[in-house]
């Protein structure tokens, strides 16, 4: 098994870029609409409605990225008291549980989209957008989250079977204080990088 970032990590990063781009685009559209509304008493883009679809897409497309970068919160009060072996067991339990949650989200997400499809549901506004379009994109993010959690759960099992406890800790363990500090230093570092674009 290679130590190169897995396809899930790389794919999730791409989706995060798309999500961020959607948010920036929403901000620009909303700004145009606010200006137009206050100057000419009219709106141009229906940004109010479109940006809510962008948010839904960003949120679900980002679930997996938050996982691969260990952002999803776990409470570590008891965890840090447990011996290392138990901790790796808890890590497995956590990733399996999250995979189950991702499955439930995807399953009921499918139901919602299917319902919109059968009803031919449209947004209750002047735009009358067929809801299956934004909901479909949103569902794609949920499916990617399911793929990522399942893959990580499988990988955790394999790594545990091979006794690679350190790798398990690195990939699905709780962020340690050092890592937490490192992650925020990275934000700090990034501030400096901005002045040296070649750094990345």
């Amino acid at each position: 098994m290679s130590e190169r970032p897995a396809f899930t990590a790389r794919g999730s990063q791409w989706l995060a870029w798309i999500g961020g781009g959607l948010m920036l685009a929403s901000a620009v559209l909303i700004t145009c609409d606010v200006v137009a509304r206050n100057l000419f008493a009219s709106t141009i883009f229906e940004s109010f409605e479109l940006s809510t679809y962008a948010l839904a897409a960003t949120v679900s497309l980002g679930f997996a990225f938050a996982l691969t970068t260990k952002a999803h919160v776990r409470i570590e009060v008891l965890y840090i008291l447990a011996p290392a072996g138990v901790r790796r067991g808890l890590d497995l339990l956590a990733i399996l549980s999250l995979a189950a949650v991702a499955f439930a989200l995807t399953w009921f997400g499918i139901q919602t989209v299917a319902e919109s499809l059968t009803l031919g549901a449209r947004s209750n506004s002047a735009l009358a957008v067929p809801l299956v379009i934004p909901q479909g994109i949103w569902l794609a993010g949920l499916i990617w989250f399911l793929i990522t959690t399942t893959w990580l759960a499988g990988r955790t099992i394999v790594l545990l079977a091979r006794g690679r406890f350190d790798a398990v800790e690195r990939e699905v363990g709780i962020v340690s204080l050092e890592e937490e500090i490192e992650a925020s230093t990275e934000a700090h570092q990034r501030g400096r990088d901005a002045q040296r674009p070649e750094a990345r």
Binding site: G21, L24, V34, H72, F108
Partner: protein, 430 residues
């Protein structure tokens, strides 16, 4: 049923599941044990409704603004400008830290962004001017928490959404307490440095009035951002979410004007934004689902009834709730704490006769406290990370006096609720 719910949650959270999983399993378990209805089926609709909620769009907008501002170079100049004004007080640059945090807080919705930005700018001065590290770091960690009290605020947007309270009203209510808390922080520094001058480091050099006035130019960009993201709401130009979006565009223009933004840096900003937004939203969705199950089963009502039947005075219940948050705040990540408990606590608070707007302000101060209490205190981590060396306990110790100031402010708000409620009332002409 309530007991089962609490025990189940403790077990799930205690076994270090992801918080969203723990909440999700709690909801699913309660529904399958106690309800004849397939409540799980509501998950899809609830999830879509929450993910496409215009109010919550403010959350990524605030984070993106913070990520861009961190790279924009605006803060350095503002910091130097403020130093001309407050740097000669006993405690020197530590007042500058607090003032800069307060001003930055008026443009940023996040405490972590505020602490990281001010920390990055001010940290080099700490060593150069011989400050006591603990207290100096404390001013940054605590000052950073002003980010969520002084409007705009991510936490208030989420609180407003979950408790059905108006966000503009919350912003107005937090305005006076926010700047009051900044004043209390400065007061603490001043008193400590009068008692123990050694902690104070070198004061900044005195500067002439003309130079002071000239330095005000550096406050221009933050002032512009404040006018956009907060002023535009009360000028009737934009809703809170629209205002947050104006902030993104303005910070982007500032960064471009300062030639500080590369494509790579923008992608990093996107990553930071999406990471936090999706983390928050997964918990919001899980919490809304649990709330749906609990209110369908009547558990929420049962809790509220039980609290009111206790026959304690409203003040006693309030104090118990505050104490509980102080304890929980030591261990639980703050947004999680806020999201998971708002649906239960706010009905109790309103039943007791307190205003949900007033409680929103108290709640945010409690969250601020949680940000600087160990072992899990996000702002402590951020400050330590920016510092990059030295013992973590310095930051913890240096933040303690400011924790006391937060408690003092909560006491003031209980004694004089109008500190929060006067401004919204005055401006709505009630």
């Amino acid at each position: 049923m309530l007991l089962v719910a609490v025990l189940l949650l403790l077990v799930l959270v205690g076994s270090a599941l992801h918080v969203a999983s723990a909440l999700g399993f709690l909801g699913a378990a309660l529904s399958s044990i106690y309800s004849p209805f397939p409540l799980l089926k509501a998950l899809g609709e609830l999830m879509w409704a929450a993910s496409s909620d215009f109010i919550l769009l403010a959350v990524p907008m605030f984070i993106l603004t913070g990520e861009i501002l961190l790279r924009s170079g605006v803060t350095e100049r503002m910091y130097d400008g403020l130093d001309r004004w407050v740097g000669q007080l006993p405690g020197g640059l530590m007042h500058t830290n607090i003032a800069a945090s307060a001003i930055f807080a008026a443009t940023s919705g996040s405490s972590v962004a505020t602490a990281a930005t001010i920390g990055t700018v001010s940290m080099p001065n700490m060593r150069r001017h011989g400050y006591n590290p603990a207290l100096f770091l404390g001013t940054i960690a605590a000052g950073g928490t002003l980010g969520i009290l002084i409007p705009p605020s991510i936490n208030m947007v989420i609180y407003g959404m979950l408790s059905e309270t108006s966000v503009p009203e919350l912003y107005l209510a937090a305005f006076i307490p926010g700047f009051l808390l900044a004043g209390l922080f400065s007061l603490a520094v001043w008193v400590i440095c009068l008692v123990r001058p050694a902690l104070g480091g070198k004061r900044s050099l005195p500067v002439g009035t003309l130079e002071r006035i000239r330095s005000l130019v550096s406050l221009g960009p933050p002032l512009l951002l404040f006018l956009l993201v907060v002023g535009s709401i009360y000028a009737g130009l934009a809703t809170p979410t629209e205002a947050a979006s104006l902030g993104v565009v303005a910070s982007l223009l500032l960064a471009l004007a300062n030639r500080r933004l590369s494509v790579a840096a923008l992608l990093r900003a996107f990553e930071g934004t999406v990471r936090t937004t999706s983390m928050v939203m997964l918990i919001v969705i899980a919490a809304l689902f649990v709330n749906f199950v609990m209110s369908t089963l009547g558990i929420t009502d049962a809790v509220v009834m039980a609290m009111t039947r206790l026959d304690w005075s409203p003040l006693a219940v309030l104090l118990v709730i505050i104490a509980a948050y102080l304890v929980l705040g030591c261990f639980v990540e703050t947004l999680t704490l806020m999201i998971a408990t708002t649906p239960i606590v706010v009905p109790i608070i309103t039943k007791l006769g307190y205003s949900p707007v007033w409680f929103g302000v108290v709640f945010v101060i409690l969250i601020e406290a949680a940000l600087i209490t160990p072992p899990i205190g996000m702002n402590l981590f951020v400050v330590q990370s920016v510092r990059g060396q030295g013992p973590f306990r310095d930051v913890v110790r240096g933040s303690a006096p400011f924790l006391l100031m937060m408690l003092a402010l909560i006491g003031l708000l209980i004694a004089a609720p109008d500190l929060a409620l006067w401004l919204p009332r005055a401006l709505s002409g009630k």
